[in-house]
């Protein structure tokens, strides 16, 4: 009981302390970096000579007390991006920008996050992340969350430093799961901590659903060869295995399993059988985009009536395959030319 009370007091004190945090402001990015504490620097990019909205937001959002509050003790700096790079203002702005790297796309408004070393770890661009209202309510919320992620990241990394082996790998995997960029080479560190990948975290980080699909479809660039017939059995086995692999991220497992669903449709599998596969994705996590798509897919694909059964389709395909093989073999036999 006493312990519980104590812990609640500590939490309350921490909350009060964090509430009393107020972001500082700097005139230049380099100055901001010098002042930066654990919450790093947050830069607001705006286009004074081409984007009026980002100029309006400079006052209504960036200089707003709520934004300062959300930014924790990060140093805030506003960096103008001029379209006319030869104007006097643009010349002056070059000093404000200093060593700040460019945003991923030259889009305004943009909010970029840097840790105290100057490494960019997150970026919010456009209304999808900042909102459409002048106060950028969504942006303020996202800034707060992002700063929270940075703190969490630091905490996990500090803890990981104290640990070794699988415990360390576990903590590093949690860092990798945060929706901000991690410092250094996490994969390498995880592999060093768990060389045999017993926990599967290295696999989790290395897994790429797109590459997984490309491998099964035997393509390097996504374009399928016109005469290519996917190996349905192989797809089924591999996708089922991925779906069961709990070391992988849920969304990755769903994405990989989608190939099996699509291929099943192409194999003329229909009705409840196909719906069953779709349901599996939904069951794994209905909140992800693929999970949300399940009801639509059931409607779209689950009710298709194919003219041929999967068996007939398979037989047809086998026949075609055999014919092509025969043709290829014949050609190979005819080939008198040695190529090297």
């Amino acid at each position: 009981m006493i312990i519980r009370k104590l812990s609640s007091i500590i939490t309350l004190t921490a909350a009060l302390l964090s509430a009393s945090e107020a972001a500082q402001r700097a005139e230049h990015f380099d100055e901001a970096l010098q002042k930066a504490g654990e919450d790093g620097v947050i830069a607001y990019c705006y286009g004074p000579d081409w984007n009026r909205r980002s100029v309006i937001l400079l006052n209504s959002f960036w200089k707003n007390a709520k934004t300062e509050e959300a930014a924790g003790d990060a140093v805030l700096v506003a960096v103008p991006f001029y379209e006319n790079k030869h104007s006097e203002e643009a010349e002056a702005a070059r000093g404000i920008r200093g060593r700040m790297p460019a945003p991923p796309f030259d889009v305004c408004p943009t909010v970029m996050f840097f840790d105290k070393s100057g490494r960019r770890y997150a970026c919010l661009q456009g209304a999808d992340y900042l909102g459409t209202d002048d106060a950028c309510t969504l942006g303020v919320k996202n800034i707060k969350e992002t700063i929270g992620h940075l703190r969490k990241q630091k905490q996990l990394l500090d803890q990981a430093q104290q640990k070794t082996g699988e415990d360390k790998a576990k903590l590093l995997a949690q860092v990798a799961d945060l929706p901000i960029q991690a410092p250094g080479n996490l994969l390498q560190d995880i592999k060093a901590a768990d060389p045999k990948d017993k926990l599967g975290y290295a696999r989790r980080m290395e897994f790429n659903a797109l590459m997984f699909m490309y491998e099964l479809l035997e393509t390097k660039d996504g374009f399928l060869a016109p005469d290519f017939e996917p190996d349905y059995r192989k797809i089924m086995q591999k996708c089922e295995a991925v779906l069961k692999d709990e070391a992988l991220r849920t969304r990755d497992r769903q994405a990989a399993y989608n190939l099996y669903i699509g291929q099943s449709r192409r194999e003329h599998i229909q009705g409840n059988r196909l719906k069953g596969l779709i349901r599996k994705v939904n069951k794994l996590d209905p909140a992800t985009d693929y999970g949300q798509l399940s009801p639509t897919l059931m409607n779209l694909w689950g009710n298709i009536k194919h003219k041929t059964t999967p068996e007939e389709r398979r037989a047809e395909r086998e026949k075609k395959k055999a014919k092509e093989k025969e043709k290829r073999d014949k050609k190979r036999q005819e080939r008198h030319v040695e190529v090297n």
Partner: protein, 888 residues
Amino acid sequence: MKLKPAHTLFLTAIIGITAGYLAAPDLLPLLRHSLNQLQQNAGEPQPTAQTPPVDTPGQDEQPTVYPTGSDDLIPDDTDDADFIADDDSRAEEDDVFFPEPEEPEEDDPEGNNTTPTRITTYKPKYQGAENEPQKPFREQTFTGKLNPTAWNSPKTLKRNLAAKVRSRLKGTDQQSVENLLLDPEVRLMLAQWELLNRSNLDTLGKLMRNTGYRESLTPLLNDLEWVSGFVYDAELQNAEIALAMIAHFQQVDPDMAKDVQHEGIKPSPWLKRRVAGAIATQFTRHGWYGEDKELTKEELAEMKKLGYFMPTLPGERKRGRNKQDVYRAARERYLYFAESIDKGLLHTSFWQLPTWQLHYVCGWKGNSPFGTASTMRWLRDNCAAPAAAYVNMCRQVPYLPTNVYGDSIHSEWYYQPFDVLYPGNFAKETRDVGAVCGGLSHFGASSACANGVPAITMGEPAHCAYAVYFDGAWHPANSLHPEERRSPHWSIWGETTWAALQLQEDMYTRGAITRNAQMIVTMASIMAENRNPLSALPLYELAVQMQPLYKPVWGLYLSTAAKTLGKRPRRWLGVNEFVCNSIAPQHPKSCALLLQESVYPGMLTALRSPKQKLAAYEAYLTNLTTNEKEQWDYRALLTAQYNSLGKALSHKEHYMQMLIDNVAKSAEFGHWVAWAVITAHQENKSMFKKVLGMLESAVARHPETKDAVCSGIIRGAEEIGDIELANLWSTGYLDSGKNMPSFEPVGGNLVSAGGLVKLGSYADDQSLVLHHAAALTEKGGSICTQPNVQAFVTVELPEKEHIGGIVLVGNGVLSVRGYLVVEISTDGKNWKHLVELSREESGKELARLNLTRNHPSAKFIRITDHAVSGEAQINLKAILVYDNKKVK
């Protein structure tokens, strides 16, 4: 003393004549004639003996008349004076059938009465006006006082306006016309008349008899700036329907007339009304319908409740769509821009765009899912960037030919499952799901347009690219091909070529002059409608003088001119020369098309003497300064010119000399030389020999363009299969220094060296032809076809051989997108399949084909690239063929 360019030209010509005479004395008359041309261009007084006959009155006193179609009877030694042979007696007869109410004076020293033979460079009345796109009439607001009810009877109004314009027009000379155009009231009347001329008057009458519509439209129709922009800044069709749309826009946006002020943005008067005009013009012109198919019953009821008058768009029923849908789609587009303007959310440069550019921004692709208001709104809020950054905006979209379900981009299933997550927002869906070139380019272009920056998607062979307008020019984006292979998907003036975009750009940079020329065309149309069409001729002439790049007027002018020119050679030559001088230097393709479509049909029946024809063709050839990058059939033009000279070889030789002299001056016309080689070869041996002599002499005279001429000769030699000629001209290019990989030869001795390469298609870079011969040696060269066009190469060996081996060296890899097939033949006609390289083998830099076991006999080897996906293209460094004999 500082030399003027004209003097420099003159001196160059004299030096050229001396050098030319030393090299080829028999060419002196031709060179002298060229000098005359130069003098004429330079505006120097001309000695009587050398005066170009086409402009010299009095020289046609003693005409030499040749019987029609008897070109071959013309003596070869006909002197230059015969150029001017004109048939006065025939001309008099012509006058009976082709009366000329505005008959110009041939000897008018001031040139006030323009005639086709006297057309000169237009000198604008207002100093500097040609360089200032908007002045002197823009920003001078003028509101007409036309009684609104006058629009109730459009037919009467049209008649009355025409009568008023005619009554004020004191003459058709430049001064009278320009003075008239200084009167804003006249300008307004002309624009209003043009609007009526482009409308269905019955429908317009119905529209304007509705008081509400009339009241909302009259302020626009009485405003000079708005009406003239609406009528002249883009091709306006179905004007009455466009007006109905604008009236609807005003119903949903009563603030259309208000000019919104934003801090930091220079206000733009009438911006929303100009935007409304641009949207209505493009939607009615293209019949663009919304993405969401037809209107629902509820929406239809809502529109009817608003009391919309919605005339049917021509051809609408054929499209099987609900007619109201086009109105809805246009209205949504307008509301999007109105909202963006009111809130100041667009790129600040949008406020300063001239009306013609507003058409590209606001009127863009109404039929595309990227063009819906909801998609554009998302693009505006998430992809606002500096104008130049839109060139890279497409990179936000991942290039994914297959989606996560394994469905191809070409199948209906690629986006369908995801539609539910992105209702009405195709741009976001594309960014999240992926796309290939088409989606990427549409994303890039629509993000620019949604933010108020002009952009346009365009087709390239097996690819889709786009272009963004900033810094006063169109900039290609996501483009894989050179500009000659780009074709914009749509345009504000009918023609959809890259060259046409450039032409428009050139035209609008002289905006004030273009507008005057357009108004003069309206004046001409008024004259033509009332009186004899020929009365419009001087006005058309003035308009083409003012703005030769305003293409629509040329058709009108030449079709009218054809009636008065009849069979008068001098006048036709004058027209021809004017067309060539005005357009050919910058736009040779547009000029060639115009000549072939509108000038040659009439002119060639009028010109009796091949020498006159030569003079006409010279006007074109001497004006070639820069080649239009666009791929175009220049061979058709040259062949038409050449064949029209009849059977007499002396004229054809003359033509060849003229062609070679002119194209050898620039490095951009090397491939035209190939045409000369091929045509001369087809003619006869003597002509072939003479043409080769001319080329040799041209190379000596123009060492700076030697490579271009050599590439033309080699290409010509390849096309006619002349091994000796190709190798002779390739000798200087055998050490091209390619980085060849090291390899072991296969078989015996190299037998391909000294052979002949022949391509299915030739790459755009003509200089690659120079390295064909080297590609048959172990030093390596270049053999490259155009992407996706006839991707094969044939090698003809100097002798028929028993092949022991073939080594193929790729430029990086042997085949980028597929695999190579090798065939052999002894006669170049019957081919035997030798081997098909697998994709893996084709993906390597080098392939050694060992044929020592069978050592087939062959003189020809053909290699074809078969693309599995994307574009097939031969791109090799070497094709080395070895015999089966013991190495010497």
